[in-house]
C-alpha cells in the first residue's frame, strides 16, 4: 500500500476568540491520487479542514491532533497544495491572464523559463480558450474561476483543494469548472478534495465521499454507499425535496412589469431588456438565466429599488390597498414600500441595520409605526418560526451562513408584504437550510403571497415555482 497523501489524526481546530471548536475529532486518510468529495452541514468544518490541509489556518487558533501532507506538516510539505475558493473574484490580482497564472510561481521565486512553461501548461490544463494577454476583466464568472484554477495548478500542487468551486456559477460555468478539474486530474494525477453542496455535478468524478456530522466523520465510502447510509441522510438531505403542491388556486394580479429595460449609469449595454412580468397572489415566479443575464437587476426593479430605464413596473390597486400611492413602486416612500414589497438580497450581510437579531427583525415593523406590543408579538413569532430564539441577542454578523439567511428572510417578511422578491436565496446553503427555505417560500405562497425568486438552483425552481421566466444575456 502506498503512503497516503493526507492524514488527519484526531484533528480539531478552535479559532481565536471562539468558544466552540470549528471542527474536532477528525480521523481521515486520503490516498494518493484519490478524488474525494467532502460533504456536511454548514458549520461542520469542511472549509476549516481544507485550510488545515493547505496550512492556512488563522493565527492564534488552537489545534488538536495532527495534519500531515506526505508525512510533513502542511506548510512544510515537499510539494505545495493548491486551493481554489468559491468566489472567483476573491483571488485574482493582476490584469492579464498569463500574469495571473504566473503569480504563484513568481512568489516561489522560479526562473523565467520555468514560469513560462508552467503558465502554458496550466492554461492548457484548464482548457483556457484565450491567450496569455487576454484581459482578466473581460472574462465571465466561469472563465475567471477556470483562470483561478490554472493559477492553483501552476504551483504544480500535489493536493488540489476545491472549496465550493461552482457554487457562485451558473450551470454552464459550473460544467466548465468540472471539466477543467477532470482534465487537470487526468494530466497530473494529483489528489483532489472537493467541498460542495451540489453533489450532482461531481457524481462521475469522485472516487470516495466522506460525510461530516457534528462529531466527526459519519459516513465514508462510494457515492452510492454513502447515499444509502442512514447517518449520512440526516446531514445530507439531497434527495429529500418535496415537489411543489400539484394544483392550487392562483390569485389576483399584484405587480406587473411591462417591457422593462435597465441600464446601469455609465454603462453602454442594457443589463436587462424588454422583460414582462405578471406577479400574482399565491404564486411563485422563478427567474432563471446565466450570470450576467440581469436576474439580480430584475429583482431590484421588481422590488421598487431601481427605476427601470424603459418600460414600467406598476402595482395593482390590490397591492396598493388603499394607500394614497402612485402605481410605480420605485417612487414610493420607503415605509410604503416595506409594507408591500419585501426584498431579500443575495448577501444577507448587506442588509443588517442593527446590532442584535431581535432588533433586526423589529426594524421594518418599527419603521411602519406599529405599536411596541405589536412589534414584540411579530418579532417573537418570527424568532420561533425561524428557530432564531436562542440567538435573539446575538450580533447578526456573528451568525452562521444559514442563520443569516433565515434572518434576512425573516426581516423582509416582518412587515407582512404581499410581494416577496428573493435574489439567489439558496446560494451557499447546506441541504437543511435549503429545505427550510423551500418550505418557507411554499408556506408564504400558500398564504397568498406573490413570490419572485432569481436563482441558478434548478432543484429549488422545481420545488417552489409555478411560473418561469428565462432571461438571456446580450452575449448569446
Amino acid at each position: 500500500m502506498t503512503t497516503p497523501a493526507v492524514v488527519l489524526d484526531g484533528f480539531g481546530y478552535r479559532p481565536a476568540n471562539a468558544r466552540r471548536w470549528a471542527v474536532r475529532d477528525i480521523d481521515l486518510s486520503i490516498a494518493h491520487g484519490e478524488t474525494l468529495l467532502l460533504l456536511g452541514a454548514s458549520g461542520s468544518g469542511k472549509s476549516t479542514i481544507l485550510r488545515a490541509i493547505a496550512g492556512l489556518l488563522d493565527a492564534g487558533g488552537e489545534v488538536a491532533g495532527s495534519v500531515e501532507v506526505h508525512r510533513a506538516p502542511p506548510g512544510a510539505a515537499p510539494r505545495p497544495t493548491g486551493l481554489l475558493m468559491q468566489d472567483p473574484d476573491a483571488g485574482l490580482v493582476l490584469s492579464r491572464a498569463g500574469e495571473e497564472v504566473a503569480f504563484g510561481p513568481q512568489n516561489a521565486g522560479l526562473p523565467q523559463d520555468q514560469i513560462d512553461r508552467r503558465v502554458d501548461e496550466a492554461l492548457a490544463a484548464v482548457g483556457f480558450p484565450y491567450g496569455r494577454e487576454h484581459p482578466v476583466a473581460a472574462l465571465s464568472g466561469g472563465e475567471r474561476q477556470r483562470l483561478a484554477l490554472a493559477g492553483a495548478l501552476a504551483m504544480r500542487p500535489d493536493v488540489l483543494l476545491l472549496d465550493e468551486p461552482t457554487s457562485m456559477l451558473d450551470p454552464r460555468g459550473a460544467h466548465l469548472i468540472r471539466d477543467a478539474v477532470e482534465r487537470a486530474v487526468s494530466r497530473t494525477g494529483c489528489t483532489v478534495v472537493i467541498v460542495e453542496h451540489n453533489t450532482d455535478i461531481w457524481r462521475d468524478l469522485v472516487d470516495r465521499v466522506v460525510v461530516l456530522g457534528a462529531d466527526g466523520v459519519v459516513a465514508d465510502g462510494t457515492l452510492s454507499e454513502v447515499s444509502a447510509s442512514p447517518a449520512a441522510r440526516d446531514t445530507w438531505l439531497v434527495d429529500a425535496v418535496r415537489p411543489s403542491t400539484a394544483s392550487h388556486h392562483i390569485g389576483e394580479r399584484l405587480l406587473v412589469a411591462n417591457h422593462v429595460a435597465y441600464r446601469y449609469k455609465g454603462q453602454q449595454q442594457l443589463a436587462l431588456r424588454d422583460v414582462d412580468v405578471d406577479l400574482r397572489a399565491a404564486s411563485a415566479l422563478a427567474i432563471v438565466g446565466d450570470n450576467g443575464s440581469g436576474k439580480s437587476t430584475l429583482t431590484r426593479v421588481l422590488g421598487g429599488l431601481a427605476q427601470p430605464t424603459c418600460g414600467s413596473v406598476s402595482a395593482t390597486p390590490a397591492l396598493i390597498n388603499g394607500g394614497r400611492l402612485g402605481a410605480e413602486p420605485h417612487r414610493w416612500r420607503a415605509t410604503a414600500l416595506a409594507g408591500r414589497i419585501g426584498s431579500v438580497f443575495q448577501n444577507p450581510e448587506h442588509s443588517f441595520l442593527t446590532d442584535t437579531v431581535r432588533d433586526e427583525l423589529a426594524v421594518g415593523p418599527r419603521a411602519l409605526g406599529h405599536s411596541d406590543s405589536k412589534v414584540h408579538a411579530v418579532v417573537d413569532e418570527l424568532l420561533t418560526r425561524l428557530r432564531l430564539d436562542e440567538m435573539a441577542d446575538q450580533n447578526p454578523f456573528t451568525l452562521s451562513g444559514g442563520e443569516q439567511r433565515r434572518l434576512s428572510v425573516g426581516a423582509a417578511i416582518a412587515t407582512a408584504p404581499r410581494v416577496l422578491v428573493l435574489d439567489e436565496p439558496t446560494f451557499g446553503q447546506d441541504p437543511s437550510t435549503w429545505h427550510e427555505l423551500a418550505e418557507m417560500v411554499l408556506g408564504l405562497r400558500g398564504q397568498g403571497a406573490a413570490i419572485a425568486v432569481a436563482t441558478h438552483d434548478r432543484r429549488f425552481v422545481d420545488a417552489v415555482a409555478d411560473q418561469h421566466l428565462h432571461l438571456t444575456s446580450e452575449r448569446e
Binding site: 492564534g60 489545534v63 450580533n395
Partner: protein
C-alpha cells in the same frame, strides 16, 4: 482554555497556530489595504457631496471644514484596527493614492496629503507603542491628522484668506477631525470588533476573552 470533553490527542504537533509578531502577515496587509479601498469608495461618494455642497457654503467657505473629518478617517481607523507600526500610514497613503488613481480633483497632490495624514496619526499611535489604542489615542491621532491637513490646506489652497476665515476654518476642521475621524473611527472599530470580522487578525487578539465577541474591550 481547553474546551470540555475534547480529547486532545497525544500526538499534538502544534498546540496553537503561532501568531507572528515580527513580520506583517498577509491578512494584515490585505485588511489594511482594503480599509483604504473601502474608504476610497466612501471618498468617491463624499467627493460628489463635497463638490455639490460647495455652492451651499459659498457664503462662508471655511464652514465647509465641518465635512472634512471623513478624509482623515482611514489612517486613524487602520491604526485602531490593525495595531501595527505603519498601519495608519499604509492605509492613509493608499486611500489618497487610490483617490488620485480613480479620478479626483486633487491630482498628485493627494499623495502629499496622504503622506501627511498617514504620518501624523502614526506618531500618536507610536507614543502608546501600538498597544491597544483606546478612545483618547483615537481622538489625539485624529487631531494630529487634522492639524497636518490644516497646515497643508492653509498654505496650498487658501493662502489668500483673511485671518478671521483662517481661524474659522481651523475651528471647523479640527472639530470635524476629532468628532468624525476620532470618535467616528473609534466607534467603527468597536462595532467592527463586535461583528467578528477582525478575528482573523493576529494583532487584534486579546490575551483572553470570554467568547467570540470582543466588543467593548476598547477602553
Amino acid at each position: 482554555m481547553p474546551a470540555k470533553g475534547v480529547v486532545v490527542s497525544t500526538r499534538v504537533s502544534e498546540s496553537t497556530v503561532e501568531p507572528t509578531t515580527g513580520q506583517w502577515t498577509t491578512v494584515e496587509i490585505v485588511v489594511t489595504a482594503s480599509l483604504a479601498v473601502a474608504f476610497g469608495v466612501v471618498f468617491w461618494a463624499w467627493n460628489l457631496l463635497w463638490t455639490a455642497t460647495g455652492g451651499a457654503f459659498a457664503g462662508l467657505p471655511p464652514v465647509q471644514g465641518l465635512m472634512y473629518g471623513v478624509w482623515l478617517a482611514p489612517g486613524v481607523l487602520a491604526g485602531l484596527v490593525v495595531q501595527r507600526k505603519g498601519a495608519a500610514f499604509f492605509a492613509a497613503f493608499l486611500a489618497a493614492a487610490l483617490s488620485a488613481v480613480f479620478g479626483s480633483q486633487w491630482g498628485l497632490v493627494a499623495l502629499v496629503y496622504g503622506a501627511v495624514q498617514g504620518v501624523a496619526p502614526e506618531f500618536v499611535f507610536a507614543l502608546r507603542g501600538y498597544r491597544r489604542p483606546g478612545v483618547v489615542v483615537a481622538l489625539l491621532a485624529a487631531l494630529a491628522t487634522g492639524v497636518g491637513s490644516l497646515g497643508l490646506d492653509l498654505v496650498l489652497y487658501y493662502p489668500t484668506w483673511s485671518s478671521e476665515w483662517k481661524w474659522l476654518y481651523t475651528a471647523t476642521l479640527l472639530t470635524s477631525a476629532v468628532v468624525v475621524a476620532g470618535l467616528g473611527s473609534w466607534l467603527l472599530a468597536r462595532a467592527l470588533r463586535a461583528t467578528g470580522v477582525l478575528d482573523a487578525l493576529p494583532a487584534s487578539l486579546p490575551a483572553s476573552l470570554p467568547g467570540s465577541v470582543s466588543a467593548s474591550r476598547n477602553e
